[in-house]
């Protein structure tokens, strides 16, 4: 085993500087629940580890005056759960983040790590996509903002540039009559990799869907924003035909693999089923009577 350098900068600039200077030999460490596992089994061998948990901006949660939220990329699932307001506004995002791993894992695992690990089955990502979260990224060339769904590039790969670090997620203000939900299907009840994950966010006005977003995980090389499913829901009263059309759009968007966890037919079919159920939960949370 070669020695690994461990850095724990207190500012983002230092972190970006060190990360850029390493020229690809460094890795960002948030909770480490992916990184350390990958290092142990030899999949990655970084020369330097840059721990971002000492940087306030990355570990804080802020509620803006307009009702929007800014979540630091390295905030743990447990910390997010303890926030007095977040789960009331975004119950679907919170349940997705809290599905990651066990109680122990929750104390470490972050949404930023979940996103940057770029697993197609990352649980928080479809919910954040549905929420319309925007990611703030900082790199040697400064700050930029991108949609969550634009970050993953393929299994284990992101569109982040050299030296870029995900700083935070910004979730928009929530209009009256909104609700979200995340459901996943795993071969077992807990602590397993999703074969399908569906996030839904809805805003209802007088029983009619005014806005909707659908995120779909584990059925394609990256988590998907399923615009067709959202279109099928918007303007409807969530009648059976609209929900079925949305489910069909989800199935059509699926491009899964056939593996020992689930066949293509199964993943595709279940994607539609979970969409229907997630819509029902989100609608209830949005106050549908």
């Amino acid at each position: 085993m070669t020695d690994i350098r461990y850095l724990a900068p207190r500012t983002l600039d230092e972190a970006v500087g060190a990360f850029a200077a390493s020229q690809g030999a460094a890795r960002i460490l948030a909770g480490g629940t992916d990184l350390l596992v990958q290092m142990r089994n030899g999949a990655v061998r970084p020369g330097t580890i840059i721990d971002i948990k000492k940087i306030t901006e990355l570990t804080s949660i802020e509620e803006a005056a307009d009702g929007g939220f800014r979540i630091g990329a390295a905030v743990s699932g447990a910390a997010l759960a303890e926030h007095p307001r977040f789960g009331r506004v975004w119950p679907g995002v919170l349940e997705a983040v809290n599905l990651i791993g066990s109680t122990q894992v929750q104390g470490r695992a972050s949404p930023g790590g979940n996103l940057c690990n770029a697993s197609p089955a990352g649980d928080s990502v479809p919910a954040l996509v549905a929420a319309g979260a925007v990611v703030t990224v900082q790199g040697p060339k400064g700050r930029r903002q991108v949609a969550v769904e634009a970050v993953p590039a393929g299994p284990g790969r992101t569109n982040l540039g050299p030296g870029e670090i995900v700083v935070s997620f910004t979730l928009p203000p929530r209009p009256e009559g909104s609700g979200d939900a995340y459901l996943r299907m795993t071969p077992r009840t807990e602590m397993d990799i999703a074969v399908v994950g569906v996030g839904v966010s809805l805003t209802l006005r007088d029983g009619v869907v005014a806005a909707a977003r659908v995120g779909l995980g584990a059925v394609a090389p990256t988590v998907l924003l399923v615009a067709d499913a959202a279109r099928a829901l918007i303007g409807s009263r969530l009648d059976e035909a609209a929900v079925h059309a949305a489910a069909a759009a989800c199935r059509a968007a699926c491009n899964p693999i056939d593996d020992k966890r689930g066949t293509i037919a199964y993943r595709t079919r279940v994607a539609g089923v979970l969409l229907q159920r997630a819509v029902a939960i989100a609608a209830e949370r949005a106050g549908r009577v």
């Binding site: 299907m185 071969p187 009840t189 020992k260 199964y266 089923v273 979970l274």
Partner: protein, 775 residues
């Protein structure tokens, strides 16, 4: 009744030690100067071994040696043995392939040991393993049991055409044909008994040292009995008298049959220790366990039952194709044949039974005994068949069972498979089980679940298990200097609670305080013979040995007391741990007496001491039996299954410690549920790679998969041993797979589904529902 009395739920005396981390497992022990071994394994399922280049590996700093199959052959190391040779139907012998400790010219499954690297540290040995250059000529492989006998399937062994290891039969073939010919109805069903990765919590490990002065090895290794290991090491491997091996078994964290066998790594540790003159230690990684621990089950079985017009079961006929893996493990051919078929008649009055078992090689990890070893497979088949038959002939499944159960007045009953059931009251157990779960009221629960969009089903299995194992067992009782009573046993706990049950028996016999009894196990030097633990034999086998030995202790004590108290032996009574002169208050405590006699003997006096050792003959198997009832709910849209209720009513004879029996049953049910619903061993058909090679991919049951399981006992004392006990260690895993699958099929039967194979994963259930709906 004392705290340690029989039938008391005595807390396990081993638990404070084990739970506080004070146990000592094989890997916890590292002798001074220990070198560490790593096994290099074949990455290919089938290949010729062309060459092995070890120079670069030997040059890695810290490396002490790199051994290959050629080195072992040159030193005359024998092959790993298979103790069983079956006769084929045509009278010839089974095909028994060689199984060298390290591959010599070919490999037959991914994980076959190819080289052993020993270094100052495990890390150095691992680095060196990467530097060993092996040249393989990769051959086509076959890992699928269903097609392994097809013409044109890749041949695992040249000497075994169609990959057949043996083609064996048992039973009354002609009579069975006759009964089928006149049957009013015949039910046929093919079932898959899926391959199980045993996954004991503690991985296998071995640590060997060699004393060149005496030519003796001390091997510390986690086994289910060191005596068999010692015999095989001497007789089959090193060609020396077995007594040259001292096998010490420290605490063991789970065995389930898998730790009964002699493994390559134990041999390699001993070999390297002699070569290097240093202790050598090897501990399995979890991923290695997947590739090298003997696997369980893995059968495809066609079963047929013949019934008369009244629903009387006439005859049973089976054809079982059993996977042996790439080599034959120690007892592999025995499991689906002699072990498994013995209980085919189960609790039912079949007039005749015939079984044909075909052992088949595939390029997979060798298969051997796993909790129940053949009996779960047979019970699964029979209980699935009976449910299927009931559905086909339109008879209630409970009634079909009840009608055919052997009655208590027929006991002792000899089954068509030649097993003599000493006792059993199956209908009483069945009725109690049904009442407990409100079987009659189930339809209301089904309807309530349907309102929630769930399909609920109830399933029942009545199992009969035949325990087995070595036909003798030894116990020795020694009164130690420190005032303790030491009981040396020839069985081996792997976590079951033997230490507690044996204390209870000793307390019951000798009247000594439980706190003063110590159970000693697992050292072949201090315990000359032992049958080890397997086949749920320990309590009734070792229990009988303790009984006989305690009897001898008491006889010797009576004589000693008569010497001390100056009375005739006939006037000495023994009660509650005290020898006294009948009708007087003059007496002596057994521990005090033993100490006094030992002290006098030490001074050279010719007196009777109390220590004794005896070997008991274990004349008969026991036949634990019982009724498992499962209720499941299935989400038909996703195939997700929830086990919502599980209930067991068991006849394990006399329950010496009901709490321990319950624990055993809980564990067995969890394992059986794992097999029924979760555990899928998947090989890639092209490459022969094990796809489910870690706990990420291989789904073990967990606490949150299971409801609280209730276990009640109806004690029908065993008549073939004086304790009245029946072996309970395996029973949970015997009853649960059929109960769960019967519940699943019941839930889905309104859709016309008549069978679902294990493991009933969400995907498989969803597929079954989708197919049924499309039809």
């Amino acid at each position: 009744m004392t705290k340690f009395g029989i039938a008391q739920p005595v807390r396990r005396v081993e638990d404070p030690r084990l739970l506080k981390g004070n146990g000592a497992y094989t890997d916890d022990i590292t002798l001074p100067g220990t070198a560490h071994g790593v096994v290099l394994r074949s990455p290919h399922a089938a290949a010729k071994l062309l060459s092995i280049e070890t120079a670069a590996a030997k040059a890695v700093p810290g490396v002490l040696a790199v051994y290959t199959g050629a080195d072992l052959k040159a030193d005359g190391i024998g092959d790993l043995p298979c103790a069983v040779t079956l006769k084929n139907r045509d009278g010839s012998d089974q095909f028994s392939p060689p199984r060298p400790t390290l591959a010599v010219d070919a490999v037959h499954h991914v994980g076959t040991p190819v080289a052993f690297i020993v270094a100052e540290t495990t890390q150095a040995a691992r680095d060196a393993a990467e530097a060993v250059m092996v040249e393989y000529d990769i051959l086509p492989s076959i890992t699928d049991l269903a097609t392994a006998m097809d013409p044109g399937a890749p041949q695992v062994w040249a000497g075994a055409p169609r990959n057949v290891c043996f083609d064996w039969e048992v039973g009354q073939k002609d009579k069975v044909e006759e009964l089928f010919a006149k049957a009013a109805h015949v039910t046929r069903l093919t079932v898959v008994n899926n391959r199980i990765v045993v996954s004991s919590i503690e991985a296998r490990a071995a640590q060997a040292e060699y004393d060149s002065a005496t030519g003796r090895w001390t091997l510390r290794t986690n086994t289910q009995g060191g005596w068999g290991i010692k015999e095989m090491m001497g007789n089959n491997i090193f060609n020396v008298p077995p007594d040259r091996f001292r096998v010490i078994t420290p605490d063991v964290g789970g065995g389930f049959g898998m730790k009964l066998f002699l493994y390559a790594e134990q041999v390699l540790a001993c070999y390297a220790a002699r070569k290097l003159g240093r202790p050598v230690k090897w501990t399995s990684e979890r991923s290695e366990a997947f590739l090298s621990d003997s696997a369980g089950r893995d059968n495809i079985t066609l079963g047929e039952i013949a019934l008369d017009k009244d629903g009387k079961l006439l005859a049973l006929r089976t054809r079982n194709v059993a996977n042996m893996g790439g080599y034959l493990s120690n007892f592999a051919p025995y499991i689906p044949t002699m072990a498994g078929t013995g209980v085919l008649a189960s609790v039912y009055g079949f007039q005749a039974v015939y079984a044909n078992v075909i052992g088949v090689f595939t390029n997979t990890v060798p298969v051997d005994a796993y909790r129940g070893a053949g009996r779960p497979e047979s019970n699964y088949l029979v209980e699935r068949l009976i449910d299927a038959a009931a559905r086909e002939i339109g008879m209630d499944r409970v009634e079909l069972r009840r009608r055919n159960m052997v009655t208590p007045d027929a006991m002792p009953y000899t089954s068509p498979m030649g097993k003599k059931y000493d006792s059993g009251d199956f209908r009483i157990v069945l009725d109690a089980a049904l009442k407990k779960v409100d079987w009659a009221g189930f339809e209301a629960r089904r309807a309530a679940a349907a309102k929630r969009g769930r399909r609920r089903g109830i399933g029942l299995a009545y199992y009969l298990e035949a325990t087995g194992g070595a036909p003798t067992e030894r116990a020795e009782i020694r009164f130690a200097e420190d005032g303790f009573v030491d009981v040396y046993v020839g069985t081996q706990s792997t976590g079951q609670g033997h230490e507690t049950a044996y204390v209870q028996l000793t307390v019951d016999q000798l009247g000594v305080p439980g706190e003063k009894v110590r159970v000693k196990q697992g050292d072949t030097d201090s315990i000359p013979v032992g049958g080890g633990t397997g086949g749920a034999r320990s309590l009734y086998s070792e229990g009988q040995a303790i009984l006989v030995t305690a009897g001898t202790v008491i006889e010797k004590g009576r004589k000693a007391a008569s010497e001390t108290l100056e009375a005739a032996p006939a006037d000495i009574v023994f009660e509650a741990g005290r020898f006294s002169i009948a009708g007087t208050d003059r007496g002596v405590d057994i521990i005090a007496l033993a100490a006094a006699q030992r002290a006098r003997a030490a001074k050279g006096e010719d007196v009777t001491t109390l220590d004794a050792a005896e070997i008991a003959n274990i004349d008969a198997h026991t036949f634990p039996n019982g009724c498992h009832i499962a209720e499941v709910e299935i989400d038909p849209e996703t195939g997700t299954l929830e086990l919502v209720r599980y209930s067991v009513t068991d006849d394990v004879g006399k329950a010496v410690n009901p709490m321990i029996v319950r624990g055993q049953v809980h564990g067995g049910v969890a394992q059986g549920f794992g097999q029924a619903v979760l555990e899928r061993t998947a090989y890639d058909p092209e490459s022969g790679q094990l796809l489910s090679g870690s706990f990420m991919d291989y789904t073990m049951p967990r606490a949150d998969d299971l409801p609280s399981i209730d276990v009640d006992f109806i004690e029908v004392p065993c008549r073939s041993n004086p304790l009245g006990v029946k072996g309970a260690g395996e029973a949970g895993a015997v009853g649960s797979p059929p109960a769960v699958v019967n519940a699943i099929v019941d839930a889905l039967s309104p859709l016309g589904i008549t069978h679902v194979d294990m493991p009933a994963t969400p995907e498989r259930l969803w597929q079954a529902v989708a197919t049924a709906r499309a039809a």
